[in-house]
Amino acid sequence: MKSMRKSRLVITIAAVGVAGMALAGCSGGGDNGGGDATDADCTEYEQYGTFEGDSVEVYTTIQGVELDQMVQTFDAFQACTGIQVDVVGTQEAETQINVRAAAGDAPELMIIPQPGLLQRLVGDGYVLPAAQSVEDNVDEFWSEAWKGYGTVDGTFYSAPLMASVKGWVWYSPADFEERGIEVPETWDELLDITEQLAADNESATYRPWCVGFGSGDATGWPGTDWIEDIVLRTAGPEVYDQWVTGDVKFSDPEIVTAFDEVGKILLNPDYVNGGFGGVESIVSTTFNDGGLPILDGNCSMHHQASFYEAQWPEGTVVAPDGDIWAFLTPKADPSAGDAVTGGGEFVAKFVEGEAVDAVQTFMASDTWANLRVGLGGVISANKGLDPELAGSELGRAAIEILQGEDTVFRFDGSDLMPAAVGTSSFWTGMNDWVVGTSDTQQVVEFIDSTWP
C-alpha cells in the first residue's frame, strides 16, 4: 500500500512537471517581414528618413493573396528607410483589436475596414491623432468626404487606404444593342428604358431586371444598397449623412420617396425577377445567382457592387466591349456630378513613434497607392493614382469615378448605422417589403422602431 502511494505521488509530480515545462515552452505565432529589395531607387523614400532597427506592426483583417501583395508594397520602403514593416493578417482582427488595445499590447498601426469601428476605437481612447505629415498627404490626395470619415469630433485620426464602389448596374452590351437600348444618363431614363424593355418583352421568363436578396441569415442586404443609392441620388449627401446618424428618420418624406422610387422597379412584377419568377422570388434568390440570368438573356440589368465582377463564370469578359459591363446607377439630377456609395479602409495609429508616423505617411501617399493598385485586385480613391494601373477595366472605371472632380462619395449607409438597424431590421424590412407582407409605410415605421 505504501509503495503504491509513493508511485502515485511520483506520477502526479511527473504530470505536473510535464505540464509546467510545456507551458513554459509555449509561444505565440511568428511574423512575416517583407523581403529586402536590394537595389531599389531610394529617391522616392528619402522624405521618410532613415531608421536603425525600428519595426512597425501593421495589423489587418486582410488575408491570403491580398496579404502577400500588401507585404510586397513595403519592400522598397523597408530597404530604403531601414524600418521593418510586419504585416500581420488575421480574420479576427476586428474583435482582437479591442482585446489587444485593452491589454496594452496594441499594434503600432491597424488597417480598419469600416468607419464605425474606427469611431468606436477613437471613442475608447485607443487611437492616436495622426501626425501632420499624414494629414498633409490626405489633404493633397483625398477628397474632403474621405478625410471626414477619418476625422472624429474635429480631430484628424486616420488616412484612407483602399476603396470599393457600390451601385453598379451590370448589363450585357450586346443585349442592350440587340434590344435597341442606350445606357441611361439619369434615373428617369433608367425607368424609361425599363418600361420599354418590359413593353417589348414577349418571353414568359424574361424581365428587364434580375434581383437576388438571399444571403443566409443576412438575407436582405442587397436591398439596402438599392435604397442607399437612391437616397444619395434623390435626397443628396446632406440628407444621407443625417439619415445614417438617425437625425432623418426612415419615415421622413425624403427616405419614403427613395423607397417609392426603388419600388417602381423592385415591386413591379412586369420588371422583376428575370430568370427566377415573380417579385417574391427576390428573397429566395441568392445574391451570387442574382445577376446570372443576364448571360442566358432572361434579364438585362442587375444592381450590385463591384465584387460581382468575380461572380461571373470563368471566361466571361468584363469590359465595355465584352460579354458583361456595368454602368453606375444614374443620378437623379442630370446637372449634378456622380454620386457613389462604397466602402473603404482606414489606417489608424495606436502607438507613438517616428517610424510609425513614417509608415502611416507612406501608406497615405500616392506612391503607396500606385504600388498597391499596380499589383492588382484593389482600387483606391487616392487622387494621385494612375487609373491605367488598375487590374481590370471595371477597376479603371471605378478609379476614374472616385477621382472625378465633382463626384460625391458616401460610405455604405447600413455599415454606418447602429447594428440593430444596419445588420438587422433594415435587412428584414427589405425582405418583408418585397415579399409584400408590409407596405412602405409599415416597413419604415418598423425600422424606425428598432433604432436604438
Binding site: R5, R8, L9, I11, T12, A15, V16, V18, A19, A22, L23, C26, G29, G30, N32, G64, D68, A204, T205, G216, D217, A218, T219, G220, N273, G275, F276, G277, G278, E280, S281, V283, S284, P418, A419, A420, T423, S424, S425, T428, N431, D432, V435, T437, T450, P452
Partner: protein, 327 residues
C-alpha cells in the same frame, strides 16, 4: 508559405491541446492524491468535496450564474435600466412576437408526436423482418447530420424557380411533373413553418425509432404468447400488452424530443433566418440580443424558454424516479 502556416498553426494547436490535457490530468491527479492522503478525521467529507467540486464549480460558472444574470437582464432595457415586466408585456402584446410564440407551440405539438408515432410504427413494422438492421440504419442516418447541415440539404429540396424554368428543388420538380405550379415553400406563411418542421421530424424520427425498437424487443415474449392464447388479435396484443410495457420509453422519447424542439434554432436560422414569419423563440432570442442589441428582450425570451422547459424536465425526473422504485 501558406501551407507552412497551416501545419505550423496545426502543430501549435495540437501542442496547446496536449498541454491542456496534461495540466488537467496533473491537477486532477494532485487533488485526488491529496484527498487520498487526507487525515483520517473527516476523510469522507474531504473526499466527497474533492470529487464533487469540479462538477459543482463548472455548473455554477457555466449554468447557475448565467441563468441568474439572464433573469436579471430580462427586467432591464437596452441601456441596462430597470423596467420591470415591460419586456414580458412586449413579448405577449407585439404581433411579431405572438407569431414567434405561436410557431413555437406548433413546433412543440407536431415534432414530438409525429416523430414518435412514425418512429413507433416503423419500429413495429420492421421488427423481426428481413434486413432489419439496414432498414433501421436508413431511418437513423439523419440523426448523424447536424441541424445546420440538414437545413442546407432541405433548402435545396425546397428550392424555387418560377413556372417555365428548370426546377432545381426536387419537391417543386415533383409538383411540376404532377402538373402543378411550383411553390415558394419557405416564403408563404404559415405553411413555411410546417416545411421547416418536416426537417426536424426527419431528423428525430430515427432517434425515436431506435429507442422504441429496443423497448419492443424487451417486452417478454411470454406475455405476448399469453395474450395470443387468450385470443387477442394483433391490434389488441399491441394496445394491451406492448404499449403498457414500453410506456416509460415513450415518455422518455417524447420529452427528449420536446426539449430539443423547444430549443430549435439552427434549422430556422439556416433555412429562413427567421424571416417570413418562421421565427421561433430561440431564434428570436438570438436576433434580439445579438443582432439588435436588445439584451433585455432577448433575455426575457430566454426566460420564457426556460420556464417552458422546466415542467417537462421535472416530469421526466419524476418518471425516472418511479421506475427506479419499481425496480
Amino acid at each position: 508559405m501558406r501551407g507552412d502556416d497551416f501545419w505550423g498553426s496545426f502543430g501549435e494547436k495540437l501542442g496547446v491541446l496536449a498541454i491542456g490535457l496534461a495540466a488537467f490530468a496533473a491537477v486532477v491527479g494532485l487533488v485526488l492524491f491529496l484527498a487520498d492522503r487526507a487525515p483520517k478525521k473527516g476523510r469522507d467529507v474531504i473526499q466527497l468535496i474533492a470529487f464533487l467540486a469540479p462538477a459543482v464549480i463548472l455548473l455554477a460558472v457555466g449554468l447557475v450564474y448565467p441563468a441568474i444574470r439572464t433573469t436579471l437582464l430580462s427586467f432591464t432595457n437596452r441601456r441596462g435600466e430597470w423596467v420591470g415586466l415591460d419586456n414580458f408585456f412586449w413579448i405577449f402584446t407585439q404581433p411579431n412576437t405572438l407569431v414567434v410564440l405561436g410557431n413555437t407551440v406548433l413546433w412543440v405539438i407536431l415534432v414530438p408526436t409525429v416523430s414518435t408515432l412514425v418512429g413507433l410504427a416503423y419500429a413495429i413494422f420492421i421488427d423481426k423482418s428481413k434486413g432489419e438492421k439496414t432498414l433501421k440504419s436508413l431511418v437513423f442516418l439523419p440523426m448523424a447530420i447536424s441541424f445546420v447541415g440538414a437545413g442546407v440539404i432541405w433548402r435545396f429540396v425546397y428550392e424555387y424557380r418560377a413556372e417555365g424554368f428548370e426546377q432545381i428543388g426536387i419537391l417543386n420538380q415533383v409538383v411540376v411533373w404532377l402538373g402543378g405550379e411550383p411553390q415558394q415553400w419557405l416564403i408563404n406563411s404559415p405553411m413555411n413553418t410546417i416545411f421547416l418542421i418536416i426537417v426536424m421530424i426527419w431528423i428525430q424520427t430515427g432517434f425515436a425509432m431506435v429507442l422504441l425498437s429496443a423497448a419492443i424487443k424487451a417486452v417478454p415474449t411470454e406475455r405476448i404468447e399469453a395474450a395470443k392464447l387468450d385470443g387477442a388479435n394483433a391490434w389488441q396484443q399491441f394496445t394491451n400488452v406492448t404499449v403498457p410495457e414500453i410506456r416509460p420509453t415513450v415518455v422518455v422519447v417524447v420529452t427528449t424530443i420536446t426539449i430539443a424542439t423547444l430549443k430549435v434554432f439552427d434549422i430556422v436560422r439556416a433555412m429562413t433566418g427567421g424571416n417570413f414569419g418562421t421565427s421561433v423563440i430561440a431564434n428570436e432570442m438570438y436576433t434580439q440580443a445579438f443582432n439588435r442589441g436588445e439584451f433585455g428582450q432577448g433575455s426575457a425570451l430566454a426566460v420564457i424558454l426556460f420556464i417552458l422547459v422546466l415542467p417537462i424536465v421535472i416530469y421526466n425526473i419524476r418518471v425516472m424516479r418511479k421506475q427506479r422504485e419499481v425496480r
